[in-house]
Symmetry: C2
Subunit: 429 residues, 2 copies
C-alpha cells in the first residue's frame, strides 16, 4: 500500500498518472490525492479498478530551513500581517504536508531575498481564514492592525491573503484606512510554495519594494504576466481577479497600474497617487452589512428586489447591462424593473448601478430607459467596479448621517474608485 | 427658442457645450438633448441658470438615400433578421430623428458595400426589443426564424441585435439550433450610424463575409480593436461584453476567435469548428425559465438559496470564487453555504458553479472545501462562462428526461461551451 510521500503510478478509468502521494482529506480516505509532475494536485477515487504501483518510497518532511536574520537597521522596517491563504504557508514538496509560517524568520527562510530589501520586524496573524470566508469583520480587523503598525513606526505594511476575494479586501482597506500616509501592499499566491511555479516569492519581494516607495496607497501586488518576471502595483479599488489560476490573474480595471515592480527595478506608470506624509492613520471601519450585489440577467424577475426589501437591506448594487440598463417598458409587465426599484427607493434603500461589463463606465444620458431609472433615484456609479461599489456602499451607509449624504458620498471619488478619464491602454491591460 | 436641428451653445452649471439639438425624450420636455461635436449625446436640465445661444438654424431630416439593388445571383443569398438595437436603425445626423430600417434596400443604402459581398434577399423583423428586455421568448423566436431561413436556402443568416445582452442570445442560439449546417452571424452596433465612429457598417460587412465561410457555427461578429479595421468571429458560447462603450467591447473568453475578418480578407485563427453540411436545421427551443444566476460576494447570506427554493426554481448557476468556492466551515454558522446547497439539491434543484473570474476554469480537486461541495452534488462547470452556463441550464432542464441526464448534459461539451485546453494567448485577447 502506497504511503504519503511515495512516488506512484496510478491506473484508473481517468487514465494513467504518475506523482507523489499527498495526505488524503479528512473524511475522504477513499480519495487518493496525487501531486503530479506538473505540480497540480488531483484526487482519484479508490475503487477496485484502480491499480497503484509504488515507484519509490517517500522521505520525511524536511524541517523548514532557519535563517537567523540579523536586524538590519539601515533598511526600512516594515510589518507583515498574515491572514491565511497559500502564500502564508509552506507545503513540503516531498510529503505535501502544510506548515503555517508564523515568525518573521520563517517568512524570510521561505523568501530569503526579503532580508536584503526590508527589515521585516514583525509578523502578526490576527486570524487564519480562507479568502472566500472573509467578510467585513475580517476587513475591520486587518484595517485596525494595519493602522496600528503604521502608527507604531512601520514604513509600510504587507498583508498576505488568499487570492479568491483578495480584491474585495483591497477595496475595503482603501475605504477604511483614513489619512493613509504610507504604502500598504496586499499580496497572495496563486501557486503553493512546493511548486516550481510558486509566485508568492516574487509577489512578496515586489511588495517589499512597494513598501519602500512614495506611494501612500492601498495596492494589490501580484504578477504582471504569467512568467515570473515582474509584478504590478494596482490600486485597491481598481483591481479584480480575472482568471482562476494564472499567476497574473489580477488585472487593473479602468486605470493604469501605479507601477511595474521587478526584484531590482521600479517603473512608475501612473502618477495619480497620494505621497507619503506624517499623518496619523485612522482605522475608520464602521460597516453596514445589509448590502447586496445583484447581477442582472435576461428574463430575471425583479421580485429579487422585494426579497431584499423584506430582509431589510439598506443598499443594493445592481450589475446593470451596457451603459446602465435593466428592463423597462417590457411587454410582460411582471418583468419591468422600474416599479420595484421605486418601491425599494421609497423604502429607504440606496439602489446603485455598476457596470456588468466591468470595463468602461455607465452613462445615464444616452438611452431613454436609463434616464428614467436615473430620474427615479438610481445612482449611476460611472466606471466603479461592482465589487468596489458593494464594499463602498456598506462603508458609506455606516458613515452617512442622512440619505442625501450617503448619495453624495457614493457619487464622490473618495479613494480613486472613480476614473473619469480612462486611458485607452487600460482596457484588458 | 432653439428647435430640433439647430446648432446651439449652452451654458449651464455643468459647463459650456456646443452641439445640435436633438428631440427631447417623451415626458422629459425640460431636458435639452444635445449631440456634441464628439458625437456623444448629453442631456441638460433646463432651469433658469441655463443660457442657450442659437448658432445656426437646423434643416429638415434628409430622406434615406435609396439604392435599388439588382439581385446579383452570382453572390450567395443570405437573410437578415433584425431584432432592434442601434445597428438596425439610422439616426439622421442633423435632427437626431431615428428611422428603423425595414427593407433590404434600406440596409444596403446604409451600408452599400453589402451589395458587393452577398445577395441580401430578405429582411425579417420578428419584433423590435431593447437588448436588455430580451428573454428566452425572443431567443426562441430568433432561433425559429434562423432555422426557417437556412432551410429555405439562405447560405447564411445575419441577426442584428442590441449589444447589452447580445452574448446571452449568442449562447442561446448555439444551444437551440440543432444540426446547424451554415454560418449564423450575430452583430450589433456600439455607436449609432450618425456618428463618425459608427461601427455597424464594418460589423455587417464582416458578418456578410463570415456568412460566405465554411464555419457552420453561431458566431458573434464585432470589432477586434477599437479602430475601424477588422472584426473577430467569436464562438457564441465563448464570448462576453467586457466594456460598456468601446467598439471592441466583445471579447472571446477562454478560446481563440474563429477568425479575424477584414472587408477584403479572412484569417482563420482557430480550426475547431463544424463545417458546412446539407443537414436540415432544427430549432429545438424548449426552455425552462426558472433558472437564476447568483454572483457570490463576501459575507453573503446563503439564505438567497432559500428564496429560490421557495420560488420553485429548477436550477441555479452560482458564480463561485477562485477555483470554485463559497464559504464552508465559517465561524458564524449562518454564513456557511453547504447546508443550504444540500437543501436545494435535495429539493431537486440543479446547483452549478461557474467561474466568477470569467477567465480560466474551475477545479474541484485542489482545495478541500471544493471537494466537499462537489461531493454534495454541486456541478463544477469547468471554464464555462456564467452567462453561457445560465442559458445552457435553462435549455438542458427543458430537454432532460431525468435529473441524471440533466447533470450529464450540463457537464458535457455540447457546442464548444467547454474548452479543456485554453491557449495561453486567449487570456485578455
Amino acid at each position: 500500500m502506497a504511503k504519503v510521500g511515495d512516488r506512484v503510478r496510478v491506473e484508473s478509468k481517468d487514465g494513467v498518472h504518475e506523482g507523489t502521494v499527498l495526505p488524503s482529506p479528512e473524511n475522504q480516505k477513499n480519495l487518493l490525492m496525487l501531486k503530479l509532475n506538473s505540480g497540480y494536485n488531483i484526487g482519484i477515487k479508490l475503487d477496485k479498478s484502480v491499480k497503484i504501483k509504488v515507484l519509490g518510497t517517500g522521505t520525511k518532511a524536511e524541517p523548514l530551513p532557519t535563517i537567523i536574520q540579523k536586524e538590519n537597521k539601515s533598511l526600512p522596517s516594515i510589518s507583515l500581517i498574515a491572514t491565511g491563504g497559500t502564500i502564508g504557508s509552506r507545503v513540503d514538496y516531498k510529503t505535501g504536508a502544510v506548515q503555517t509560517l508564523m515568525k518573521p524568520q520563517e517568512f524570510i527562510a521561505n523568501v530569503p531575498e526579503l532580508a536584503q530589501i526590508v527589515n521585516l520586524k514583525k509578523i502578526s496573524r490576527p486570524f487564519a481564514v480562507w479568502s472566500e470566508n472573509m467578510s467585513h469583520v475580517e476587513w475591520q480587523k486587518i484595517a485596525q492592525e494595519v493602522a496600528k503598525e503604521l502608527n507604531a513606526g512601520a514604513e509600510g505594511v504587507i498583508v498576505t491573503h488568499g487570492t479568491d476575494m483578495l480584491h474585495y479586501t483591497a477595496a475595503a482597506l482603501s475605504f477604511m484606512l483614513k489619512n493613509l500616509s504610507k504604502p500598504v501592499a496586499l499580496v497572495g499566491g496563486q501557486r503553493s510554495s512546493d511548486r516550481g511555479s510558486f509566485d508568492g516569492a516574487l509577489n512578496l519581494i515586489c511588495a517589499a519594494n512597494y513598501c519602500k516607495s512614495e506611494i501612500a496607497e492601498v495596492s494589490l501586488i501580484m504578477h504582471g504576466e504569467d512568467a515570473d518576471t515582474y509584478c504590478l502595483a494596482m490600486r485597491g479599488t481598481k483591481v479584480r481577479k480575472l482568471h482562476t489560476s494564472r499567476r497574473d490573474a489580477f488585472r487593473p480595471v479602468n486605470e493604469m497600474p501605479f507601477a511595474k515592480i521587478w526584484k531590482n527595478n521600479f517603473e512608475l506608470l501612473n502618477s495619480n497617487y497620494k505621497k507619503r506624509t506624517n499623518e496619523k492613520v485612522v482605522a475608520d471601519t464602521k460597516f453596514e452589512p445589509r448590502v447586496a450585489l445583484v447581477k442582472f440577467f435576461p428574463g430575471q424577475s425583479p421580485d429579487i428586489i422585494d426579497y431584499y426589501i423584506s430582509k431589510k437591506y439598506k443598499g443594493l448594487v445592481i450589475e446593470a447591462s451596457g451603459l446602465g440598463h435593466v428592463p423597462i417598458d417590457t411587454k410582460d409587465k411582471k418583468l419591468g424593473w422600474l416599479p420595484k426599484i421605486k418601491k425599494a427607493i421609497d423604502s429607504g434603500m440606496l439602489v446603485c448601478f455598476a457596470p456588468q461589463t466591468l470595463y468602461g463606465g455607465l452613462n445615464q444620458f444616452v438611452y431613454a430607459p436609463a434616464r428614467q431609472l436615473h430620474d427615479a433615484g438610481v445612482l449611476y456609479l460611472g466606471d466603479m467596479l461592482p465589487e468596489t461599489a458593494l464594499v463602498k456602499l456598506g462603508w458609506v451607509l455606516a458613515h452617512a448621517k442622512k440619505p442625501v449624504e450617503a448619495k453624495q458620498l457614493m457619487l464622490a471619488n473618495l479613494v480613486g474608485e472613480l476614473n473619469p478619464r480612462i486611458p485607452e491602454e487600460a482596457f484588458l491591460y
